[in-house]
């Protein structure tokens, strides 16, 4: 089968991408496989300036998952472009920049800079920064703020596809999706991590220095599928689904409920060659099940 998919004009050789924050700047995985194999990779969230992130500990185990509170540690957009991007085979796989900022105007500046760089295929706007300027409400939890950020980014991104990444920590994710699509988002990706916590009953301490962190991994897959399904009913733009994918069958589940492509996050920690293997496993499973085209399979859940 032809494994290619198209996200708002961006063509991927196959639907498997890697998720932001779980695949570094891509280069870290060269020892484990051929980056060219991937449909695309989303690099660690980039801010205008380098940032140091949260105090340690930043990660903890969770049942069928993990918690993280990395915070916004990154080398900054400029360093990424100058020092990492050229090491990536961006001619052969889509390199997507994940944007992280604390105000709409900062988002816009970041988008303006990144959208002009050769080698970046699309922007993914992470609207769940926990330290935003406006009174502690997260961008991603308020439809009008989410729309404002989307508009600000779109205005400054030229022709580059803008993907808005949604958080599941909302009452109604479909209306969040509608808000960002109405504001011009070319695609949406979901889900980011679930707001969660882990504590040690013996030491009486939180297991993350930040106290609250994000839950990812297989534990959240049923929530992620529900979110993608609801968003697929609500908007017409392509959806990139993610949350707990650890097998080719999981990939198909996301496509079945309406996703065009997927991202693999925590599974990269199960083994660093996970995403590369998944590309092959997906092709084999598609063959085994006799799926004839993505257009035929996508969203074909029989309800």
């Amino acid at each position: 089968m032809d494994m290619r998919v198209n996200i708002a004009g961006l063509e991927l050789s196959n639907p498997v991408m890697t998720a932001s924050g779980t695949f570094g700047y891509g280069v870290e995985f060269k020892r484990y496989g051929q980056l060219e194999k991937l449909g695309g990779m989303v690099v660690k969230g980039l801010s205008l300036e380098p940032r140091a992130g949260n105090p340690m500990p930043r990660i903890a185990d969770a049942p069928a998952g993990m918690l993280n509170a990395i915070g916004l540690q990154n080398i900054g957009a400029r360093n990424f472009v100058e020092k990492r991007l050229k090491l990536l085979p961006w001619g052969e796989t889509a390199v997507v920049a994940n944007l992280y900022a604390c105000s709409a105007s900062e988002f816009a500046d970041l988008a303006a800079y990144l959208s002009e760089q050769e080698g970046i295929a699309a922007l993914e706007v992470n609207i769940s920064c926990p330290n935003v300027s406006s009174g502690g409400v997260l961008f991603g939890q308020d439809p009008s703020m989410a729309a404002a950020v989307t508009r600000a980014v779109k205005d400054r991104s030229g022709e580059m596809p803008v993907i808005v990444k949604l958080t599941p920590n909302v009452t109604d994710i479909a209306s969040m999706a509608k808000a960002v699509v109405d504001a011009g988002a070319d695609a949406v990706s979901l889900i980011n991590t679930l707001s969660a916590m882990s504590v040690d009953a013996r030491t009486r301490k939180p297991r993350l220095a930040n106290v609250i962190g994000g839950l990812s991994g297989p534990a959240i897959k049923p929530v992620a599928l529900r979110c993608v399904w609801q968003v697929a009913q609500a908007v017409d733009v392509p959806i990139i689904g993610m949350g707990g994918i650890t097998s080719a069958e999981d990939v198909l589940e996301f496509i079945l409920v309406g996703a065009t492509a997927v991202q693999v996050g925590t599974a990269n920690f199960i083994r660093p060659d996970f995403a590369f293997r998944l590309v092959d496993e997906l092709a084999a499973l598609v063959d085994e099940l006799g799926i004839e085209s993505w257009d035929d399979y996508r969203g074909s859940l029989q309800v």
């Binding site: 779980t22 570094g24 870290e28 484990y32 930043r58 990660i59 969770a62 920690f269 083994r271 660093p272």
Partner: protein, 266 residues
């Protein structure tokens, strides 16, 4: 070209050391050598580590676990030496020969080796793991002095393996006074190596903190191997960082696990 550094292998053997509940469980786990497709195995050095994830982890825990490489040899296999701490090591402890394990590595940097330099090797508890091979490989073992602090009995630590090669002193800590004596020993010994010696250390955080403090005070430095919690092991997740004085937070897995004590905050 180096092949894929993440390899599938199987359990070759488990050897248990020590005995009795109170001692904890100490295990040398040997895996079949996954092969030199991954040419990095030809070049591994003590101080480097591997990420280990047996299939039996299932979804719990999801993350693999990092362990110092104790030895690696195409015939003998790859060994790690670990203490049972929690759910991950418990599952490792119940592995049987033949069970499948995913292994990535060798990862990280290694301890410095300066054959002509008087070298102080400081091991705290299970932190001895990388040093069996370090002392074995050393070309001038008469330049080595190893001090080993431990709470469980020596029998837990395969101590013979370290001995005989170089000057080795074990300090059994059974009460508060033992600990004070041990700290005093560090305070006395570390300065002797601060100017023209080499100090390398691996062990629990308080142990490393003491060494760093003494070295700092005497304008010296020691190489410390850190054991932060890890997810990826490859420098991608930023879950394992420590504070580097000039570079800010750096990945222990990729930039370390061995750091000069004067370059980091503990």
């Amino acid at each position: 070209m180096f092949g894929n550094a993440c390899q599938d292998t199987t359990v070759k053997s488990l050897t248990r050391f020590g005995k009795g509940e109170g001692d904890g469980e100490f295990i040398e786990l040997t895996l079949e050598h996954p092969g030199l497709d991954n040419a990095a195995w030809k070049l591994w050095k003590p101080g480097q580590f591997v990420m280990v994830r047996p299939e039996s982890f299932g979804l719990d825990p999801l993350m693999g676990r990092p362990f110092s490489i104790t030895s690696a040899d195409e015939e003998q296999g790859i060994s790690i030496f670990f203490q049972v701490m929690g759910q991950g090591t418990r599952k490792l402890a119940s592995l049987k020969p033949g069970e499948p394990v995913t292994l990535w590595g060798p990862l990280g940097n290694a301890f410095a080796v300066r054959k002509d330099t008087p070298t102080l090797v400081l091991a705290g508890g299970i932190g001895i793991a990388p040093f069996y091979e370090y002392v074995k490989r050393h070309e001038q073992p008469e330049n080595l002095r190893m001090i080993f602090g431990h709470r469980p009995p020596l029998a837990c630590y395969n101590w013979e393996r370290a001995q005989g090669v170089c000057s080795c002193e074990a300090h059994h800590e059974t009460c508060r006074q033992d600990l004070m004596d041990f700290i005093a020993l560090i305070e006395e010994t570390v300065p002797q190596y601060c100017n023209d010696g080499l100090i390398i250390a691996c062990g629990p955080l308080p142990f490393l903190e003491t060494i760093k403090k003494v070295a700092d005070q005497h304008g010296g430095r020691a190489q410390l191997s850190l054991e932060n919690r890890m997810a990826c092991g490859v420098g991608a997740c930023l879950g394992c960082v420590c504070d580097h004085k000039t570079e800010g937070p750096v990945s222990v897995c990729a930039r370390g696990p061995v750091f000069w004590s004067d370059e980091i905050e503990l």
